[in-house]
Structure formats: C-alpha cells, structure tokens
Amino acid sequence: MSLDFEDQIVELENRIEELIKLNAAPDVQFDTEIAELKKKVQQLIKETYGNLSPWQVVHVARHQDRPHFEDYIEGMSSEFIELHGDRCYGDDRAMICGFATIDGQKVMLIGMSKGRTTNEKIANNFGMANPEGYRKALRLMRLAERYNIPIVCLIDTPAAYPGKEAEERGQAEAIARNLTEMASIETPIIVVITGEGGSGGALGIAVGDIVMMLSFAIYSVIPPEGCAAILWRDSEKAPDAAKALKITAKELLELGVIDEIINEPPGGAHRNKETTILAVKEAILRHLKTLEHVGRKKLVNKRFEKFVKLGKFDDRKYSSH
C-alpha cells in the first residue's frame, strides 16, 4: 500500500534503490546522484509530513506497514507470556493480553491486534474486539492490580466490532463495565494510541493515568467517513470531517485529552518501525518510573480528576475522595 500524497517520495525512494543496485556493478559510479537524491527525498518527507492534513494523517494511522501490537511485543519486551480467555465465553484474538517484561519492568501488556496476513486479519477480526475481548482485558487488569504490577495498553483498532453476536453478548455492557472498573483499579495504567483509536472500542481499554499518542495516530469518536456521511450527507467529505473532528495528536494534546505525543521518525512509523517502537518503549518506561511512587489511593483519585476535567463546564468542585 502506498499513500497518494507519498507518490513522489516513493518514486524517489525507488530510484535510489535502483541506483544503489546499479552502483554495485564495476564500471559505474552513481554515488553523487544517490547522495543528492537522498537529500532530496529527506527534504520532501520533511515537507510532506510536516504538513499532513488530518485526512492524510488518517491514512498514515491506518497504514498497514505501521508496527502492529506483535511488533511492539517483540521490540519492547524481553519476555511475553500470553494469557488467554475471559473465563466466561471465549478467547478474543483481536485483544491480546499477557505478562511482559520491558527493560526489567514487569507489566500486564494489553493490546489490539489487527493481523497482517489475510488469515490473521480474519482470525483477529481486523482488530475489532468482541465483548469477550474487553472482558478478558478486565480480568487480567484486575489480576495485575492484585499482583501489584502496572498495566500498559496499546491501542490500534477501527472500532469495537459492530456485529450481531457482539450485541447479543453485550458489547455495550462490556465496554461500560471496563470504563467503570478501570476508574477504580489501584495500579498504574499507561495507554498509548499507536494507530487508530476508534471510539468506544478504543476507550474500552484507554482509561489510563497517562494517555499518549504516536504523532501520526488518530483518536476519534467516529470515523471521519461516518461523520461525513451523516453531517455532510456525503462520505466523500471525509477530509472535511477529519478536520472538523480534531483527531490528530497535536489537537488532542491541546484539548487535554492526551498527555504526551510520542514522535514518529521522519516519514512515519511505517518507514522505521524500530525507531518508533523504541520511542514508545522509552516513553512507557519513563512514566512507569514516575507512577510507581504514587500512592494507590492517590493514583485512583488523580485518574478520576483527569477524566472529570475533560469538557468540564467550569470549576465547580467535585468531592475529592
């Protein structure tokens, strides 16, 4: 997959690769050309990615070559022990949970998994969790609380699955229950939106003490296409909706919805997975270090205050607890 606004970049990148190949032959010398093209492509990337429209960011956030949850597991942790099942109905492959060790730090790592191959995508329901996914996550968050280890949630989902059986098994209840319970979990919760933060489906594991976003991730109450179809009566107006909805990291930081932006390398996470993953890892470890010293009751109170202030009409006092 390539993005249309990247056409020129990709063309140049291809040329460079060709020249590098040719350069290997004995009697040619393209060193100068290559160096020049490289400079040019870097300039172009900088310009393009420095000025992406919200709608272009949507495409970057959805890029299939972005690092997936599996890549983060592999890149961030020296150990990952997957734990399955909600102890009630099933084991949702769209929601992966397990013990992980990140730079010696033990955590409960939870994330959505979109899948890469067609088979994986189908098995993982394209990263759209069913109720049993949210319930598995909650079960293991409660276990983390009991074991006194922090929780890290990586979010990349188009939405909670809008299917018949998901409704039957209580998609609304499962998300609502998570929002309610996560508000009272007495262990640190760190959230990173790494790709798509799709509405309630994302929020269902995103009630954290620290919420971060990659610079080209999105977080939205509705997909821009859906919003455009309803309010513009034309899903082609998605770029307008994307702009109006304020779904990019920078806008969300300004709104106070997220606490920090984790910068992606030039040209986006799909151009350099490793650097991206290390940046995410660094940010997580940094916040874990701070949060581990906060008393548990205080932690829960601060989490409450954090979400309460979002959209708060004025400064009338909520009772502190």
């Binding site: 209580g170 609304a172 929002l179 508000a183 919003c227 109006a244 919805v257 979002l310 009409f313």
Partner: protein, 277 residues
C-alpha cells in the same frame, strides 16, 4: 455511535393533529386525550412514545419536591465545530430555543414516594439525547451529589449515543460518567439505570448499562451499534426483535422490563432493598 441522526429526522406523526394521535408503531388512530392520559403509551399496541424530561420528572418525583442541579450548565463547543451547512453553535442556539433546555439531561433531587433520591433524565429532543460535555458534566455532578448525600441515584437514558459535534470530548464523557458510577459502587450508594427508547452507542456503552439494576421500558431499542451499521457489517438481515428490551432481557443485560405507568412504584419497591442500614 452515529445512529441517532437517522432517528432524529423521523417526523413524529403524533404532533400533527390536535384531536387524534397516530401511533408510531401500529399506526392506530387514538384520541389524543386518551393517549396523553395513558402517558403516551399506545392503548392498542403498548408502544411507548418518547416523552420529555419534564413529563418524566412529573411521573417520577413527588410534586413540589424537585430541586434542579446545575441548570446553568449548557452546551460547550470545544472543537468550534462546523459542518457544511452550519455551525454547532448555531444549531445549539436553535435547539435551546426550541426545547427550552440547556442540555440533553435534566438533573436534580427530590423525593420518590417519600424517599430522597437524586435523578438525571435525558431528553431525546436535545440533539437526540446525545452525550455532550455538558451532559456528561451534569450526570457526573448529580452522581457526586448522590455520593455526598448517600442518596440513591436514578438515571433515565434516552440517547442516540455520542455527540459528534463535540468529537473526542464527547467520547471522554463516557469515561467520566462511569468514573462517577464507580465511586457510587465503592461507597455502596444504589444506582438504578432506566433505559428508554432509544439508548445507543456512547450512552449504552457507559452509565446506562452498569446500573445495580437495569430497568427498561417495553419495546425500547437498546444497543451498541445501530441496526443499519450491523446489517452493513454482517451483510445479513437482523431478527425483528433485535435490540429490543425483551431481547436484551433474554440475553442477560436487563433486570426487569417495566411499563411506564408502573416505573415509579417499581423504583420505590426496589429502593426499599437498597437502603443500607
């Protein structure tokens, strides 16, 4: 979460005629007076037409005991949102003028057959009962009042879901209102949720679905995603009773289905069991 817009545009045939009301469900013509006396429940098919928050208040709280909370909280426009035709601010002004409401929920306290309760009543007329930041603020502030006074909290929901025009801030109201419910749970303060037609998306997936007791009116439509979205996703027709109160009860998510005229006495009965000594 975008389900409500479709519903919002449905013109109620009920308002057209002064003498006759036409049931939106069975299309029966009913004397308006009889219908109003029956609390807008169709005497032919039992369809529960939506009612305003003032009507609901009257049906629920003892006369003369209600005191409103946070009536000054109104719409905020965190995104300065505009679509092709108009700005959210303009639409908000319109809606406020038409409905006389500041937000999609009315909150306050009073007595219910003599029991002190805190109550929040959503009104579908106001942006399809959608969950704006003002809505979330009021619902949370009322739960906080209930917490401080150790009085039961009752919420009547009616909502198409999140309020798109407030974008992510609307989504955050789900976490915020649930955080308030979480505190009630911890303190043992009763929280009863009453789901009325319709309750969807960001409201069903937050406070509406986590009542100690979830009550629903008969035939109310309740769900996460809208019927059309699901049909498009699964490329199948859905069963007729899909997402009705009765369907949800069968699937384990509703404690009891109660007719409109019996809700007050039902709440009164249930509260007898919830008053921690």
């Amino acid at each position: 979460m975008a389900w409500f817009s479709k519903t919002k545009q449905r013109k109620s045939s009920i308002d057209k005629d002064e003498l006759w009301a036409v049931c939106d469900s069975c299309k029966a013509h009913v004397y308006r007076e009889e219908w109003e006396k029956n609390l807008k429940v169709c005497p032919k098919c039992g369809y529960h037409e939506r009612i305003t928050c003032q009507q609901r208040l009257q049906l629920t709280i003892d006369e003369g005991t209600f005191e409103e909370l946070d009536s000054d909280i109104e719409i905020s426009d965190p995104l300065k949102f505009s679509d092709a035709k108009s700005s959210y601010a303009d639409k908000a002004a319109d809606t406020k003028a038409k409905t006389g409401l500041n937000e999609a929920v009315l909150t306050g306290f009073g007595t219910l057959n003599g029991i002190s309760v805190v109550i929040a009543i959503m009104d579908f007329r106001f942006f399809g009962g959608s969950l704006g930041s003002g809505t979330g603020d009021k619902i949370l502030l009322a739960s906080d009042y209930a917490l401080r006074h150790k009085q039961p909290y009752i919420v009547f929901s009616a909502s198409g879901g999140a309020r798109m025009q407030e974008g992510i801030i609307s989504l955050m109201q789900m976490a915020k209102t649930c955080a308030g419910i979480s505190r009630l749970n911890k303190a043992g303060v009763p929280y009863i949720s009453v789901l009325t037609n319709p309750t969807f998306g960001g409201v069903s997936a937050s406070y509406a679905m986590v009542g100690d007791i979830n009550i629903a009116e008969p035939g109310a439509l309740i769900g996460f995603a809208g019927r059309r979205v699901i049909e498009q996703t699964i490329k199948q027709k859905l069963p007729e009773n899909f997402q009705t109160s009765e369907y949800l009860l069968e699937h384990g998510f509703i404690d009891a289905i109660v007719e409109r005229k019996k809700i007050k006495s039902f709440l009164h009965s249930v509260l007898q069991y919830s008053m921690r000594k």
